[in-house]
């Protein structure tokens, strides 16, 4: 969908101009940002706590140190995380197991934040394919582009939510892809995306994550606002903060997920 809007805008560019402008933005009170994951692979797992800054400040985010961070699971396991570098808290022994629910507790100077996330089992990737695509928008890009397709079988009669991450030569490409099976329950799903900056002999790793509904909701809303502004090109109807699963107004998310990987080499 975004692509279509994108093309529309490109066609307008021939008589348009773009420039950096000064906008007088309010200075908001700093907000707590918590980002934590626990997976079914080997730990350690970490929770990062930072703060927001004013928009036109340099992109370095104050770390929140000396907080109490605990993770517990539905089987009664409990661990207090240790701060290994400013704002980064790490587990030592806790393991992620499919089917368990994990609870995060954070106490920052007496203010408590909690979140809960279920680690669903994930299906396997049956196959990966790719295709070369000529997508030189208005001749602007001479690079080759590749569409990568992952096939996997959705488990029937269960609400499944997936996230798909692409790593090009082991580097995460930063794009957010999430899908739910509301219309695809029990089907063989083919998920394709066009990857930019991929060249021959590159190795592409596809990671399929099983996530819970709240985490899906978080990444789905996050993807619509990333790089968002105002005007017809905006991806979402009105920009807003993504729907976080953390209590007490903290930004960010806490996600338990299980994942599988598959690798493909472009040649």
């Amino acid at each position: 969908m975004k692509k279509i809007t994108y093309i529309f805008i490109i066609t307008l560019l021939f008589s348009s101009c773009e420039k950096v402008i000064d906008v007088d933005l309010n200075s908001a009170d700093p907000q707590i940002v918590i980002e934590g994951v626990i997976t079914n692979s080997a730990g350690p797992f970490s929770v990062t706590i930072t703060q927001t800054t004013d928009y036109f400040e340099p992109s370095s985010y104050p770390a929140i140190s000396n907080s109490i961070v605990n993770i517990s699971d539905s089987e009664g396991n409990f661990e207090t995380l240790v701060e290994v570098e400013p704002g980064v808290y790490q587990t030592a022994n806790l393991q992620g197991v499919e089917g368990r629910t994990y609870d995060l507790y954070v106490n920052i100077d007496g203010v408590e934040y909690t979140a809960s996330s279920y680690m669903p089992p994930v299906t396997t990737i049956d196959s990966l394919e790719y295709e070369e695509i000529d997508i030189g928008f208005g001749g602007q890009s001479d690079e080759d582009n590749y569409a990568v397709f992952a096939h996997f079988m959705d488990t029937e009669n269960i609400e499944n939510y997936y996230r798909i991450k692409y790593y090009i030569n082991s580097e995460f490409d930063g794009e957010i892809h999430v899908i739910d099976d509301q219309l695809l329950d029990g089907n063989d799903i083919e998920y394709g995306s066009i990857l930019e900056d991929v060249e021959i002999s590159d190795e592409v790793i596809v990671e399929l994550l099983g996530i819970d509904e709240n985490v899906y909701d978080y990444f789905n809303t996050l993807s619509t606002i990333l790089g968002d502004g105002q005007g017809p090109s905006s991806g979402s109807t009105t920009p807003s903060n993504p729907n976080s699963n953390i209590s007490n107004g903290a930004l960010g998310y806490f996600s338990a997920y299980s994942s599988v990987l598959d690798t493909l080499v472009i040649n």
Binding site: V23, L25, N26, S27, Q230, P232, T238, N241, G252
Partner: protein, 767 residues
């Protein structure tokens, strides 16, 4: 028998005196002598009794007055008046043809109404225009566009550059009813809104009602734009057209049988894509639109007349063979005017309207087509009963069958086709409206409309829990009624003439709307879906009160008015955070419901005649919404809350050959949501937002200038050159402002502006 029944109804509904006196009726049509086109709003005035009437949209008039000898004057702005002496000792038919005044060459007249119509009519909140009014106003790419010019009038605001959507008195863009020969036009934009779908060459008349609309109109909360196509020359064949920088137009019209029937065909196509082909970067982009207006009419006899009209337009956009989208409207109207007698006029219409879009994509082995749209079939009956000069009664009804196609996806073997359930609805309305001139000073137009909507099967209807998950599905059979809504819509207008030059007007109206448009982006796109009222979405309701003071100066050469209004809106729609609306079968789970209010003051100063004509309009307004889920339930400004809006239009006729014009607009920037901070997730910078619509885009202003050189040739042939310069001082108005991190990791605000100094030249001809 039928007729008696009607009369019975009328007698019980209204009171009128003096029916025992010997009265006769004079009725007929008023036409343009040159081409036989009926004149809408021509004045018929009887000096002896100081009473009169105006012709309706079919050019028909009827006056019932006591027996006697009268001098009857027929007049129409820009035409020579005619006067007849008539001994009214029986009911008579009088058809009149008026000759266009030759003064036209030196004087431009920008209104087709009687000079003091604005003061005396019960209408308020109404703007009328015809193509002649606007031919001199400079426009983008020289494409004269009634819709764009309308947006220079108070209270009617452009939804922004590159958007022919408009908002009226704080309403949203989907709250405007747009009728082309009575058929609903669901998307009035060509080329993403840079042009409207209405080809000025085919348009005869345009009327915008901003509030206080009479009871025969309904179905939208904010405004009605009622457009009539030309009927075609009844006397002789005529070819006219224009060659512009980006498009060309051609119109052919003529009699089918002289003075009995005529036709008009008018077409337009842009050729921007041909220029794109010449550029290196965009040579694989196809982008054009075309539209076609057709109309034919035939007078069977004095009592019966038939009209058939149609519109077909399409925008086509594609990128290589990979991706394409095309969209457009088609409408068709069959109308039958029938005179039961010289005082009871009936128009019956059968109307078809369709809007749809297709998205095609062909990437690799994957071919996919998505189709979505809406179509309507309407049946409409409108009676006008001309009782006497003091009383006119209008009544009638309308029935509509709506089909909504939210999305059909089909593809090659790589895709599973799936169709979202179509939605169906029956909409029905009945109305009665009474125009009552109580005295020379006081007149009323009041009425009542009852409207209802039934959402109908077949289909699955979902109910949702608070988090938007489906908790229940009910399956309905074909034509099974899912939900019924309905209610009364009272309308009231009063005019008090203070003196010959000034009047006070008051109006109240309630409107109900049973259809909503959900927009996938912050401005309109062809993919915006229309959804019906349902078990979840309730009909919108608006109540508007307005008060106006109208005063003319210098023998009606200068019109001024001040109108203030307050509008209350219920059951308004907004979106959940991160709403996903495209092809979503559970679209209703993405919506939130709240209320709105709008108030403002509109000032207009207009000079209609003389060498210098034009107007100055200023609107002060506030529009706010309140939703429990947004901004902690506080009232917040809507996107189009536009505090100040100014338009100045001036035209000067130097001599019969040269005419120059300029227009300047200024308005407060839209209310927008900007980030107030930022943070990092997965190593990416994410904007942090504090409140919805808490910021403003920069103020918008722009000057356009134009000049027209006209050469009159023999035998009515005419040729003209139009030169214009859009955005003459090259203001960089913000089209979008985006907040992103650049390649160096620095967050910045990027402004995109369109269209600085766009010159154009258009050649128009007529022979």
């Amino acid at each position: 028998m039928k007729r008696k029944y009607f009369l019975l109804v009328l007698f019980t509904l209204i009171f009128f005196n003096g029916f025992t006196q010997n009265k006769f009726t004079i009725s007929g049509y008023v036409k343009d002598a040159k081409n036989g086109e009926e004149l809408i709003g021509a004045t018929i005035f009887i000096k002896e009794i100081q009473k009169g009437t105006i012709t309706n949209v079919y050019g028909f008039y009827s006056l019932t007055i006591p027996e006697g000898e009268y001098a009857i004057q027929y007049s129409y702005m820009g035409y020579n008046s005619q006067e007849f002496l008539l001994n009214l000792n029986e009911s008579k038919t009088k058809n009149v043809e008026l000759v266009e005044s030759t003064k036209q060459l030196e004087e431009i007249v920008i209104t087709a109404q009687k000079k003091d119509h604005n003061i005396k009519s019960t209408e308020m909140g109404v703007v009328k225009m015809n193509p002649k009014d606007i031919s001199a106003v400079p426009v983008l790419f020289g494409e004269k566009d009634l819709m764009k010019t309308l947006q220079l009038m108070p209270g009617i605001k452009s939804a922004g550059e590159g958007n022919s959507g408009y908002t009226v008195r704080g309403g949203t863009t989907d709250q405007n009813l747009i009728l082309l020969d009575e058929a609903t036009v669901y998307n009035a934009s060509h080329l993403l809104g840079f042009f409207s779908v209405f080809n000025s060459d085919a348009i005869k008349n345009m009327k915008m009602i901003k509030g206080g609309g009479p009871a025969q109109y309904g179905g939208r909360l904010s405004s009605v734009l009622d457009i009539q196509m030309k009927e075609g020359n009844m006397k002789e064949y005529d070819v006219s057209g224009g060659l512009g920088l980006i498009s060309s137009r051609l119109t052919v019209e003529g009699p089918i049988v002289k003075d009995k029937g005529s036709f008009i065909i008018s077409g337009r196509r842009t050729y921007l894509d041909l220029f794109l082909k010449l550029t290196e970067d965009y040579d694989d982009i196809t982008l054009y639109f075309y539209d076609l207006n057709l109309k034919a009419n035939y007078r069977i006899n004095d009592k019966n007349r038939l009209y058939i009209s149609g519109y077909f337009g399409r925008d086509i956009f594609s990128f290589e063979d990979m991706m394409g989208i095309d969209w457009g409207n088609s409408t068709g109207t069959i109308r039958w005017n029938h005179l039961f007698n010289d005082r009871l006029f009936l128009n019956s219409s059968l109307i078809f309207s369709n809007y749809d879009y297709d998205i095609n994509s062909d990437i690799g082995d994957n071919e996919l087509t998505i189709t979505s749209g809406i179509n309507d079939i309407d049946l409409k009956e409108d009676f006008t009963f001309f009782i006497n000069p003091q009383n006119t009664l209008k009544f009638g009804g309308k029935f509509t069958y709506h089909t909504y196609i939210p999305g059909e996806v089909s593809g090659n073997e790589n895709f599973d086709s799936f169709n979202q359930d179509k939605d169906y609805g029956y909409e029905a309305a009945a109305y009665i409206s009474h125009q009552w001139n109580l005295s020379d000073k006081l007149s009323f137009e009041y009425g009542l409309r009852y409207s209802m909507f039934m959402a109908a099967g077949p289909g699955d209807i979902y109910s949702y829990d608070d988090s938007g998950d489906v908790i229940d599905t009910t399956t309905y059979k074909s034509n099974e009624i899912i939900k019924t809504y309905g209610g009364l819509e009272p309308r009231f207008n009063a005019t008090y003439l203070i003196d010959d030059k000034s009047s006070l007007k008051l109006s109240y109206s309630r409107n109900r709307q049973y259809i909503h448009q959900v927009s996938n982006s912050t401005s309109g796109t062809p993919m915006d879906a229309w959804i019906p009222t349902s078990n979840i979405v309730e009909p919108g309701i608006s109540d508007q009160v307005s008060l106006g003071y109208f005063r003319n100066f210098l023998d009606n050469q200068i019109e001024t008015s001040v109108e203030v209004y307050y509008k209350d809106m219920q059951n308004q729609i907004d979106y959940e955070n991160g709403a996903d609306l495209f092809l979503n079968p559970f679209i209703e789970s993405q919506l939130v419901f709240g209320k709105g209010r709008s108030y403002g003051a509109e000032f207009l100063l207009k000079k209609n005649t003389g060498k210098f004509t034009g107007w100055l309009s200023y609107t002060y307004s506030r529009t706010e919404k309140q939703f429990d889920d947004i901004n902690d339930g506080d009232w917040y400004p809507t996107k189009y809350d536009r505090t100040h809006d100014i338009s100045i239009v001036g035209m000067y006729q130097f001599n019969p050959k040269w005419n120059v014009s300029a227009s300047w607009v200024y308005y407060t920037g839209n209310a927008v949501t900007f980030p107030s901070g930022k943070y990092e997730i997965e190593g990416q910078t994410v904007n942090y937002y504090t409140e919805r619509n808490g910021y403003r885009m920069p103020d918008y202003h722009r000057l356009d200038i134009g000049a027209t050189y006209t050469k009159q040739k023999k035998k009515g042939r005419e040729a003209s050159w139009n030169f214009s310069l859009y955005n003459a001082y090259g203001r960089e108005n913000a089209y979008t402002i985006t907040f992103e991190e650049n390649d160096d990791g620095i967050t910045e605000a990027l402004q995109l502006s369109l269209f600085r100094w766009i010159p154009s030249i258009t050649y128009n001809f007529k022979f």
